[in-house]
Amino acid sequence: MQDLIPVILNMMTLVSILMMVALGLAIIYGLMDLINFAHGEFVTMGAYTLVVVSNQGGSYWLALLLSPIVGGIFGIVLERTVIRYLYSRPLAIILATWGISLVLRQSFQLIFGAYAYGVAEPVAGSLSFFGAEYPAYRLFLIGVSLFLMGICYVVFRYTGFGLDVRTVIQNRDMAEALGIDTRRVYVLAFGAGAAMAAVAGVLVAPLGSAFPHMGINYLAKSFFVVIVGGVGNIAGVAVGSALIGCLETLLNYQVPVSLSQALVLIVAIIIVRFRPQGMIPA
């Protein structure tokens, strides 16, 4: 039992990160059939926010507060300047956001250099958890992301804005006919998704490091989550993240990291064959 607890907590770490990154992607895809290839760069942006803030002598907590603002503003700017002109052309959005992703990655590389920045964990030491020692920072990470997912669920379920979002996901034309300002819903949802991804960036940076291309890995993984879980609802994202995150963590104990990721991809592709709408369709 005591050996099992670190495994479960490792799983939960990956699952919580995946949930935060994939949520924005899934909601945006469900809302507007829009696949954003620059989504991973929001994660990178969050991580570099932490690097810049700590280089200026600021604390981790300041970066954690600033990152959703940085990510959110950038997401809204991206939606207002590029994406809103392309809503009727899904493939064009992929190409345009991929171009933006390339430009951003190259800019990160020019500004911060190609090497990886290590960031110190703000919460040192480990906690005893049901008799097993576990790093305190990871427990903090799981807590923060569960808290944020809870807030998202409440907003989605019990607020007027959440009702608007769910209406648009169900039927865009009908929502518009009922007087919902879909453009406003789009831009707010886009900004919120970007902000969540940026917070995820701050949370993961101390576990590994910040580097220009880090977003790409999260982009691929969160696509798996969306494909497996289904688009446009929080439950789908949670189920998809749980499946992908647990599978990958468990496989990592048995086989090399690269092989486990390839296996996860294969499982995702097989699931698509039998459940094209994902585990939990919108």
């Binding site: 991929w98 890995n217 691929a220 990291v257 690269s258 995702a268």
Partner: protein, 340 residues
């Protein structure tokens, strides 16, 4: 036989004449080219072959792959691993066979699950992107087989052994002509495969898949065929690359190469089959020129190209030419009217 059923129309005649013209240039070109420029041209031809495979999939099949370099890299690694580890005179030939077979089987499996589940359009792009990312990571971290970041070095040139006679394709003209022969054969083969009924069915699927299905065509099976053939051509290009340059590295599977292949096809003209070769030639030259000024400039230019393409010429570069043509034609038409 092929031409008896479907006679050549005017466009096809022009296409064949253009191809003949390019071939003539490429055949006499080695007479005054030195070994180094010849090897550059040879590598560009190989990249052109890769671009052709994407054009067949995207232009003819309507499926855009964003990880097409994965199949190219799989072919290159299959070639390299076989040629370096098998200890028979036939190793390099078996390697070339593996270079075609491995991506073929991989695409068959992936294609069966995706295409038969109705995955098309943007969803297909996403999954192929993921395949590209994963294969590159696998190539980097599976060090014992792939050599990790440094890749595989010293892959021998292709050698053909028949009874006691053995011939090795050496650097310079032999390799160049071998690559040219493969490229021409595959180009003509794919062109022939897209003519007649087969081509019409593919065009119908691109136009309206549901309607093509209603007419009794097994559209998923047709698309699966296109995907597998395309992956095999990409793998062949990878195999040619591996024994021509002698080394294989994880970049060959990577996203940057996949992105550039897309640009070559988009610039050369999607669906033209010959265009991707021209696109590869032009863009690689441009890349070398720009990278000689500043090495970090190129990704910016590619990124801006993507955004510009979406807004300025959404139907591809060729549509701009067509638009100018139409404009000129309309101008001359009104002139004639005024004369009359």
């Amino acid at each position: 036989m092929l031409f008896k059923n479907t006679p050549l129309d005017r466009g096809e005649k022009i296409w064949l004449l253009t191809l003949a013209g390019f071939l003539l240039v490429l055949l006499v070109y080695p007479l005054w080219a030195d070994t180094y420029t010849l090897s550059i041209t040879r590598d560009t031809l190989i990249y052109g072959l890769l671009a052709l495979s994407l054009d067949y999939l995207w232009g003819k099949g309507g499926l855009l792959s964003f990880g097409h370099a994965a199949f190219f890299g799989m072919g290159a690694y299959a070639m390299g691993i076989t040629a370096l580890n098998l200890n028979t005179p036939l190793a390099s030939l078996i390697g070339l066979f593996a270079a075609v077979a491995v991506p073929g089987v991989a695409s068959l499996v992936v294609g069966y699950f995706l295409l038969f589940a109705g995955v098309r359009g943007p969803y297909f792009v996403v999954v192929t992107l993921a395949i590209g990312i994963i294969s590159q990571q696998a190539a980097i971290s599976w060090v014992s087989v792939t050599g990790g970041d440094s890749g595989l070095l010293g892959i021998p040139h292709l050698a053909v052994t028949l009874f006691n006679l053995s011939y090795e394709f050496h650097e310079g003209m032999p390799l160049y002509f071998l690559v040219l022969a493969f490229s021409t054969a595959v180009l003509l083969g794919l062109w022939a495969a897209c003519r007649g009924q087969k081509g019409n069915i593919l065009a119908a699927i691109q136009d309206n898949e549901l309607r093509a299905q209603t007419l009794g065509h097994h559209t998923s099976l047709h698309l699966l065929f296109v995907l597998v053939l395309s992956a095999m051509v990409a793998g062949l290009a990878g195999g040619l690359y591996a024994f021509s340059t002698g080394f294989v590295a994880p970049d060959l599977l990577g996203l940057m190469l996949s992105t550039e292949v897309f640009v070559w096809v988009a610039i050369g003209g999607r669906g033209t089959l010959l265009g991707p070769f021209i696109g590869a030639f032009v863009v690689i030259r441009l890349e070398q020129f720009i990278s000689s000024i500043n090495i970090s400039l190129w990704p910016f230019i590619i990124g801006v190209f993507f955004v510009a393409m979406v807004f300025l010429f959404p139907d591809g570069i060729l549509s701009v030419v067509r638009r100018i043509n139409n404009f000129v034609a309309r101008k001359t038409a009104t002139h004639h009217q005024e004369d009359a």
